[in-house]
């Protein structure tokens, strides 16, 4: 008889007598309260999105109807087409910009963080703990603090309206977090595996690429996606370091649309949906890893 079996048998041996009846509070809590709560939670989280989605499917007349028309009469994709092809606020261009900036940020951040994370996880050198603290502290740095100096720095270097300025600025918030996450993942991999590779004549870099990275792949993928998603959502750098419409990312483009003399809520809602769906999909995939990373990362200080 295995241990769980025995325990079950022991529990079954004294049926229901040792277990007090669930009191009425508990019954109410696990019945009506639970279901009402879940309903409220779902409505609370989803309601605003549903409203914007409905808005994006309405015609202009339906949008500004009095009394307010809740459901679109017949579904129309005209807002999506308009937003995507608009000359004034070309979402196709914004989308491409966001995709490029976020992808390059992701690749560069991951490469840099793998090296740094590995070094911090494996080499013992003076100031290692201080460095780890610095990474933790910089995660809390506000972007607004960096706006003025970075703006004047990019001006001086002639990098206003370039992808480089955006990508490079994005490192300030992606890198500290990804390094921190990766140190954790690399720490969890037993050193013995690498040591045998080192004895077999692999260099440090070879051991990193052939032994450590394959084992840490899920973690590395999660951090990479994290870098992508945060760059995708970034707003303040994107509006400050670009002046031309063609250089705007989705976030900056949405804001730029509001800055026009009259807000086109139909098109804007379509734009909101366009910028939301990719991150929503990626994040759903990322959920599990991220929760673990966030709680681990936040705790190790």
């Amino acid at each position: 008889m295995s241990a769980p079996d025995r325990r079950r048998a022991a529990a079954g041996g004294a049926p229901r007598l040792t277990r007090p009846r669930a009191d009425w509070v508990e019954r109410v809590l696990s019945g009506p309260v639970l279901w009402l709560g879940l309903l409220a939670l779902t409505l609370f989280a989803l309601g605003p999105f549903v409203w914007v989605f409905l808005t994006s499917l309405k015609t202009r007349a339906e949008l500004y109807a009095t009394p307010l028309q809740y459901l679109p009469g017949r579904l129309t994709a005209v807002n999506y087409v308009d937003a995507w092809t608009s000359k004034l606020t070309p979402f196709s261009r914004f989308f491409a910009n966001s995709l490029w900036v976020s992808s390059v940020t992701m690749v560069a951040t991951t490469a840099v963080s793998i090296l740094a994370g590995y070094a911090l996880a494996r080499f013992r050198f003076a100031g290692r703990n201080v460095l780890l603290l610095v990474f933790l502290a910089t995660q809390m740095f506000p972007a607004v603090l960096l706006i003025a100096p970075l703006l004047s720095q990019w001006y001086a270097l002639g990098l206003i309206d370039t992808y480089q300025a955006l990508i490079y600025s994005n490192f300030s918030f992606t890198v500290p977090f990804t390094v921190w996450m990766l140190v954790g993942y690399f720490d969890a991999i037993p050193r013995e595996l690498e040591e045998s590779a080192l004895i077999d004549g692999c260099g440090r870099f070879g051991a990193l690429c052939r032994v450590v990275l394959p084992l840490a792949a899920p973690g590395v993928a999660a951090t990479a996606i994290f870098a992508f998603v945060t760059s995708w959502s970034e707003l303040l750098f994107a509006i400050t370091f670009t002046t031309q419409t063609e250089m705007r990312t989705l976030s900056a483009g949405l804001l730029f649309m509001v800055g026009q003399y009259e807000i086109q809520w139909g098109q804007l809602s379509a734009g909101v949906m366009i910028s939301t769906v990719p991150v929503a999909i990626l994040f759903t995939y990322l959920q599990r890893h991220l929760i673990r990373g966030l709680s681990a990362g936040a705790l190790k200080g």
């Binding site: 939670l41 506000p142 077999d200």
Partner: protein, 311 residues
Amino acid sequence: MASSPASVAVSLPRPLLSRRARELATGYLYLLPVALCLGGTILFPILKAMHMSLYRHVLIRPQEYGFIGLGNYARLLHDETFWLTLWNSLVWVFGSVGFQFLGGFAAALLLHQSFRGRAFVRTVTLLPWIVPGVVVALVWEWLYQPNYGVLNDLLLRLGVLRDRVAWLSDPSLAMPAVIATNVWRGVPFFAIMLLAGLQAIPDELYEAARVDGASVLQRFRHVTLPLLRPIIIVATATRIIWTFNYADLIFVMTSGGPANATQITSTYTLLTAYSTLDFGYAATLSVVLLVIMLTFTVLYLRVTRGIDSVA
């Protein structure tokens, strides 16, 4: 890969550096790229901000450029808007984080139960937190819209309101309105953090308490709360720092208006650089923000020290 003794016996030329020194050099080499990245985007800008804060430096008035020592800091002390933004930040941070915590805790307790469709509800709950900040701001601006917004319409139909309300342009309502938006955005953060904490509490503890005759409320009070304490502290502290810095929502929704009613220190810093192009003063505000941040971080480290593993 046969590592034959023979291959070991071939003596390599004696390396220039000892093994340990080489290891160390490799370590620093691996850290070089990250040093360049963060040096260029964090360290140097901060030093530059300190330097800039000593100059009169308004981009559209280049003729006035010049060293003024601590002039910007003196101006800060007499800047009523700055002191107002500190107060507003306090309201913004504690209003937001307080309600986020309560909502997130309730959501975590719900999501910890087992029911059909739990994975779906969990993912949906996360949505407000994962979408870009500008999206959240615009979605809520549309909900709050006085004439075509759904909020006014619903409240009028329910008889809560008699007249349409301009949520974001009424000085007394603007702050509660942006806080409500931020609460919506932040509830998922507390929900997932606390959910992770709840899942880490062993079932045996609840069973033991149950056997001892503890009611559901007593179990909550004497098992759940004490065991969640560390994660509550960490999550709240992180969130306070985050919210203090968070400028996107207010910047998009009200730009600090009406009449600075929603101007917090971080949006004020942003607008000084972005709209007024007063780089000297914006840099001064950045330095002050930095000092506040460092204070927060030191406090954070003190509060969370000794909390090693929860989740």
